[in-house]
Chain length 289, copies 2
């Protein structure tokens, strides 16, 4: 099966309404260009509020289903596309998640994923806002395949990618909001961007699955000097090869993904055959010494 | 601590004696250039005999300790270097392994690793020759740090790299013998080489550990049209950045590795802090559906 995928890489402004409007335009445009799977970046409705710890920001959270799933649900139905959206989920008073929702072509919710690995470092105070996900690593079944949706910090964990693969994911999808500390030098920035890209491309390689990674772009001010979101959204094929890639401008990244390559690749490089599962038990330990 | 590492990338000829002699010269030369850790490629004493299944090839196997550990042990002691060598281990009649041995600067054996993941595909009939390793994933303690030695096919398994990291490895080391099917087109060859490189560099990224990967070069004839060993030996820093890299010629790859970077990186990108170990249990399953 060929899936025409599009990633929407945008600057995100102050107004959630305006952000949703701009994203809608990009989604309509990608749908006109025959995309049947469209992925938005992490927390695309708002500025990256996790640059500081501010209890007032919990006002930005919403339920699932709720405002965003209704808004993007109508759009998915209208455009007959599968949409992967990302939002700040309010589950109960004092209980919030960083959640991606997959919407089917009929506008219904196909499933959701709650970010399992939550970062926390200066300017990325996510542990203040988000309880770690409790839905595990379960691909979401859609008309364009089983989507292994993960979110941002998850991208550094080969465990997450592997678990999605073992559960039958047809591709891995990473909505992301990652950028540079403007105080870092060019060499360090380059190393970070490369590390981010190859870590995810390697998930493609290890699992023989396409990988779609969607980041925002632009500078957003904040207490630690702000974040320069580095864009670089890309679609990699199941050998980790780059099929399409954005730079540091707003862009829609398109690629036709052949999901049958996974089977072909797993025949010539049969990694799944040889996993030493009886020797992997220590992966569930915090530290092995 | 700074470790001056050298990888010896060579063509391997028909004569084991001649191969050992050429490797010795390269080791002496690298030691003169101040290397204190020198790594040889997989099964460096012989042509890659696994291109066919031939019971006579079991004659190539040797014990540990044995001929190679004595030969390279003397050299390690003479040159005061830590050596990582690779050999076809005879453990008992009918029981063989693909084994790497680490030799300390005093010529003694510091430890050994038996290849855990054994490949088998046309021209790489390793399952005929090698019983999968039964020593698990244990770094080997040396005067230049704890070496997470893995071998070739292991490189495709993030589980192996992670387990070595969890056991306190200071670096990951992959002796390898990998190459192209000459019948493949240039695009496919490029994708395979890139996949191989980024998969290993990603182990560096995920674990904040340097990665040293050593391949052979040159064409070796065989029943399936032979193998074009692609060289490309490289040393990556703990962010996955390439520190030094060979092309498709014989070469010694040098880099000064700063093992203190691991601690620094794990502070700014603290992946180890956030592993969801309670949700990783299915990694020990064959398939997750």
């Amino acid at each position: 099966m060929i899936v025409n995928a599009a990633l929407i890489q945008k600057k995100i402004g102050d107004s959630p309404d305006e952000n949703r409007k701009r994203l809608s335009e990009a989604i309509r445009s990608a749908a006109r260009d025959k995309a049947d799977l469209i992925v938005l970046s992490e927390l695309h409705n708002t500025r990256y509020f996790c640059q500081s710890e501010d209890a007032a920001c919990f006002d930005l959270a919403e339920t699932v289903p709720g405002e965003s799933t209704a808004f993007f649900g109508r759009l998915a139905q209208e455009q007959k596309v599968v949409l992967v959206i990302s939002l700040f989920e309010k589950r109960a008073a004092g209980l919030y998640h960083n959640t991606a929702v997959v919407i089917e072509k009929d506008g219904n919710i196909a499933g959701k994923y709650r970010k399992m690995h939550i970062p926390d470092d200066p300017a990325f105070y996510e542990k203040f806002y988000f309880t770690p996900g409790d839905l595990g690593f379960e691909p979401i079944k859609t008309s364009v395949g089983k989507l292994g949706v993960l979110i941002c910090w998850d991208q550094w964990y080969p465990e997450a990618a592997r678990l999605m693969a073992l559960k039958g994911a047809d591709m891995l999808i990473y909505p992301t909001a990652i950028g540079w500390d403007p105080n870092d030098g060019e060499d360090e920035k380059k190393r970070q961007l490369q590390a981010w890209e190859i870590a995810q491309r390697a998930h493609a390689v290890s699992n023989a699955l396409p990988v779609l990674s969607v980041n925002r772009v632009g500078f957003e001010e904040g207490g630690h000097g702000g974040i320069e979101f580095w864009g670089g959204s890309f679609i990699a094929g199941a050998q980790g090869e780059i099929l399409a890639k954005a730079d540091r401008e707003e862009a829609t990244v398109f690629a036709a993904i052949d999901t049958e390559k996974t089977e072909k690749l797993r025949r010539i490089w049969p990694f799944m055959r040889d996993r030493r599962i009886e020797s992997y038990g220590d992966l569930t330990k915090r530290w092995g010494e």
